[in-house]
Subunit: 686 residues, 2 copies
């Protein structure tokens, strides 16, 4: 990721890769000045103790949150989600730290940023003939020099923002990718991509422009005391466009609300996080071109667009590549006999995606998302049963801890962050802007999408999506990443408030909203949605085939179908133990390679494969029973082709389309067991 | 932990708790000096990239190790253990980094430590009216100032030693405690404690004194170029006394070697790690007293002993307390309905032990060990089935990764650590000393223990224990903790070599050794050891009861029996859902409290409890089948009391002794179902 966002010291590697080779100096005093040394030692010990205490604070916070979550779940309280709860506890601790600890020096006015001399990041100091290396820790505003001591506790609980990007977000995002309910996700892929890419871009620009208006207004009224550029407004638009409906989705899960709505919301929020990260990097990359920055510059604009596309596709590739490599490794070694090794490998490979992307200058978090999706789609099928549950559970725990940590920290940050700038006009403007920004992409996009969709996105779904646009961990992490300037501080404070209110209000309002909008709950996720008035077509009798064709045609664009057929015929058999044997799908002159790459299991025991290919990651412990992959049963009972063995083209086409709808594994078996090559009826689109 | 070991900056909190409040300065240059800023930005980006690359190096190393381990396991190769393998790969990468990267400036002579002026740890620098805070990174020897750049990659792969203590060791040690096979552990508790405490102390002092002789010799021969005090020798003794027979135990596990030998070795190595840590801290704490340090001082000596006892018991208490709190929380909340919450809580509480101990000035790693044991003994019984496997698997993965990481790092460090001092005399002396040190505690202690033990520790067991004294992660972590002075550098280099050779040679020699010593393999771990010639007593007919009594008397001291009865009658029922109801064990005037504390399950479904109380943690995935808790079956088939329901005292005593031997859950059921209070026949000892 380019741009000034990377300007501060990255922390994760710092943590792990400190300059061990040079660490000796502090201790090299020897015994010559024992008393002095003892004093430093005591100091260091004291500092270590304080660090431990502040980490303990967070752990106790999380423990308290967990216990209260349990109490709430136990009593079936739904008006406050666990994340909201974590924030409240964080708030309380923040207040205690702020006002309960020995007096701090009040708020100094944030220092201005106009000095010409930039401090060095590294100093070499000559102390009586010896050279010592010092690294820049940060600036201290003059008024605070003498009370650094008193602020210590507040400083201790303030994390380096890179912790969020390098430690806390990756497991959250990976888990999101890994637990995508793929069947419903892929069925709605077109819409999800539209919402995520177009929607986020639209939202970003609308919010950015509205906020620029607000900023202009503030300047008129005299509420603005420092610079606030157009690019800052756009950056705010990008930051605040990252939706995070954890609360809503948790309630959906609990109530078993409509699966398509779930898929739309989940898919949108997952991908839009990625889009928001890359978008904000691109906007930041736009800034420093030329001497008169902050004015529109076509070249710089296109450069930014290029950066966006480059980072996004690069990160996507990284994620996909490591996922594919892991799939190949797990397929061609018999690692599944040793689940511990397998899990460790899986974990390491997934982590390496992040590092690889960062090393190549892409965005680790985005790469990790696509890695998660790839791992779920291919590698998961190669894992042993034990590793499947291990990896799921491992990342579930990591995700849970990281998420609740971020939300507690948010609560804490409201009081402990020392450079808040709350501007009522800006805040009110921001709330209006995010409302309008969301409205301006949900409704028009849904209208456009409905032109092409068979299962229309109903009004109630649209309202629900509109309502579910709450902001969470990603918006916070993006906002805290850079809080150096006046404008960024104001954006950060506003983001914090927006997160608070959307999480509390939307989180509490989801259940009433669902019933008010008449969205059905208690749905078996493996059933297709029931006929609704606006989209039902009779799927019986002679009209069945044309209806199916019609449906497939409308729901999945040719690009997707092409991809599906490629995935099913080549990628799946190469990367996993499932799918049709390559010997049947590849041209005959590739026979040798095909035979090498095809797993012997594909020929041997297709029965077992169908089970292994369950291809389904549980999202939440609550859903263990409901979300089992019963696709085959559902499919079998729909029965248009179960007993068919003739190879006439009409039948083959029908079942291939069926397979498309069910993403994978469901109808595959029938096709592959006949040994035919799955060919899509592309002529229908011509 | 007191003493100079704490003198350098602790890294874990550094990682997580960076001074976020002051992090703005670097970026505060604004747009005024855009070009210059861009340059810094590029620099920071470059550094971040390098960090990612070096972490990637480690991940690739681990991946490679995992794949090779698989290959070895697959082909049943046993001459090289995974840890040995990790070291070899580390070595190779170290060689590449050392000689493959652009020329570094060769070895400068390590700087002497005699300057009078200690550098400040924090600098405040005034740059054109603004104050910046710098922290001391380390000293640069004058010759290296200009080629810091070239050494970059080597520096990048060199970790802060505190990473080992604060990040990598805790999961390893916790896992060791959590996976203690308790039944065999407790049966041999006396011997294990003797080996761990007395043995380590003896070994430490013998090695220390021998090494002091070696150092004197070196001084005579002129091989010593700097100071090497007696306390340094003792510290080396403490460091190198931490045995770590992972390799041996892995092979034991694989071959299902004798369980008592396993318990002795495992228990000894786990506890002796704790003893070695605290011992080295105490020795370090001894050093800086008075002006003429390094001379014997009785007051200082007793202070050190006090420090040892204080730190050890304090850490023990911390671990036990958090374990008990976790047990209470999991018992009295119905958290087990939500395995994710439960696992998260378990993880957080276990982690908080570490922080709590560090915050109170005790040793986190030691606290974590006892926390692990407590968690396994109590909390584990309260967890849901899913959480049991989750927690086990979570810590298993963490342990595996951390351990292999440390061993890879060791391989790497041999070439990338820049201040090695290899002294052939010292190294040979050290090898001889550790051999003698181990011999001097294994054989005499075994002799003494055999005086009191019924199951004698046979000669072959003693030889095997002697042979298994290899050094591993803990010795390395202790040695790398302080490499500031000449003596410590020499000790570090020597430790590294000792680890290498013991791991490779002993690891490769375990299987031949086992067969050479005629130690039986393929044992069912839940069977009592078969009669061996030197310890067999006929346990049949009328002699049975007295034999049993005799056995109990000999094997478990009254202290242990007192503890067992207290644990069984009070702690287990209070902390878990198992054991006899408190209403029967507590005096009648405690009726109300007893009723509150006793879990209703104890009365309700005792059948189920027996299963829940399996109290058994699997150590290795390989053993899943073999190590299931079949105690009840084994016990039932031995049949002296299965059909007994009469309450005559003879029978009760017999079964209580039986229960003692099986630690828990096995014979408990019969006792508790009769509703009697388990009273130990203390009169037999009087």
């Amino acid at each position: 990721m380019a741009g000034p966002l990377r300007r501060r010291l990255p922390l994760l590697p710092l943590l792990l890769l400190a300059a061990g080779g040079l660490r000796a100096a502090e201790r090299s005093g020897g015994s010559s000045s024992a008393m002095e040394e003892l004093a430093t030692e005591k100091e260091a010990e004291e500092s270590h103790r304080q660090d431990s205490v502040s980490l303990l604070t967070f752990i106790l916070l999380l423990t308290l949150t967990i216990l209260t979550i349990w109490l709430f779940k136990h009593r079936r309280v739904r008006f406050l989600h666990e994340t909201g709860l974590a924030m409240i506890y964080g708030l309380i601790v923040g207040v205690i730290l702020r006002y309960g600890t020995p007096s701090t020096s009040g708020h100094d006015k944030p220092f201005s940023c106009s000095q010409e001399d930039r401090p060095f990041t590294t100093l070499l100091v000559n102390v009586s003939g010896k050279f010592f290396e010092y690294t820049l820790k940060g600036e201290i505003s003059p008024g605070k020099i003498h009370n650094v001591e008193q602020n210590d506790m507040l400083r201790k609980v303030t994390f380096d923002p890179e912790v969020f990007f390098n430690i806390l977000l990756p497991p959250i995002i990976f888990h999101a990718g890994y637990s995508l309910k793929k069947r419903h996700f892929f069925r709605n892929l077109g819409s999800i991509l539209a919402y995520a890419f177009l929607g986020t871009a639209v939202s970003c620009f609308i919010i950015g422009n509205l906020m620029y208006g607000v900023v202009k207004l503030m300047k008129l009224v005299g509420q603005l005391s420092d610079k606030f550029y157009y690019t800052d407004c756009l950056l705010f638009g990008a930051i605040i466009s990252a939706t995070d409906p954890v609360t809503v989705l948790a309630i959906f899960n609990e109530l078993h609300a409509d699966v398509d709505l779930y898929a739309l919301l989940f898919g949108e929020s997952v991908l839009n996080d990625a889009v928001a990260i890359v978008l904000s990097s691109s906007i930041v990359a736009y800034q420093p071109t030329g001497e008169n920055t902050h004015a529109f510059d076509a070249a710089a604009f296109f450069k930014s667009v290029g950066v966006f596309l480059g980072i996004f596709s690069g990160s996507f590739m990284m994620g996909a590549v490591t996922g594919v490599v892991t799939a190949l490794v797990t397929k061609f070694t018999k690692l599944h006999c040793f689940p511990l090794l397998e899990t460790a490998l899986f974990f390491l490979m997934s982590w390496s995606t992040f590092l690889l992307a960062e090393a190549c200058g892409f965005t680790g978090v985005v790469a990790v998302l696509f890695c998660g999706i790839t791992q779920a789609h291919y590698t998961y099928n190669n894992l042993s049963v034990e590793s499947r549950s291990r990896t799921k559970q491992l990342f579930e725990v990591l995700h849970f801890l990281a998420e609740n940590f971020i939300f507690s920290y948010m609560g804490l940050a409201l009081f402990t962050f020392q450079k808040h700038i709350f501007s009522p006009v800006f805040i009110i403007g921001a709330f209006v802007a995010i409302f309008l920004g969301r409205a301006a992409h949900i409704y028009p996009l849904s209208f456009l999408l409905n032109l092409g969709r068979r299962h229309k996105i109903s009004w109630s779904f649209q309202h629900m999506m509109m309502f579910s646009g709450l902001r969470g961990a990603m918006a916070f992490a993006l906002a805290i990443r850079d809080t150096a300037t006046y404008s960024h501080q104001m954006m950060f404070s506003t983001t914090l408030l927006i997160v608070f209110f959307t999480v509390w209000i939307v989180g509490g309002g989801t259940t009433p909203m669902l019933s008010w909008l008449n969205i059905r709950v208690g749905v078996d996720p493996d059933q297709d949605p029931p006929p609704t008035n606006d989209s039902f077509q009779v799927l019986q009798g002679d009209g069945q085939d044309s209806a199916r064709r019609n449906r497939t045609k409308q729901e999945s664009a040719w690009l997707f179908r092409l991809w599906y057929s490629f995935d099913h015929n080549y990628l799946k058999p190469i990367l996993t133990h499932s799918g049709p044997p390559l010997t049947t799908t590849l041209p005959s002159w590739c026979g040798l390679i095909a035979r090498c790459l095809t797993s012997p299991q594909v020929y041997d025991n297709q029965e077992q494969l169908r089970e292994e290919d369950s291809d389904f990651i549980l999202n939440d412990g609550d859903l263990t029973v409901t979300y089992g992959d019963t696709t085959i049963t559902a499919n079998g009972s729909s029965g248009p082709h179960t007993a068919t063995t003739n190879l006439d083209s009409r039948r083959t086409k029908s079942s291939s389309e069926e397979a498309l709808e069910h993403d994978l594994g469901a109808a595959d078996h029938e096709v592959t067991s006949r040994g035919t090559r799955l060919v899509f009826p592309l002529e229908y689109n011509a």
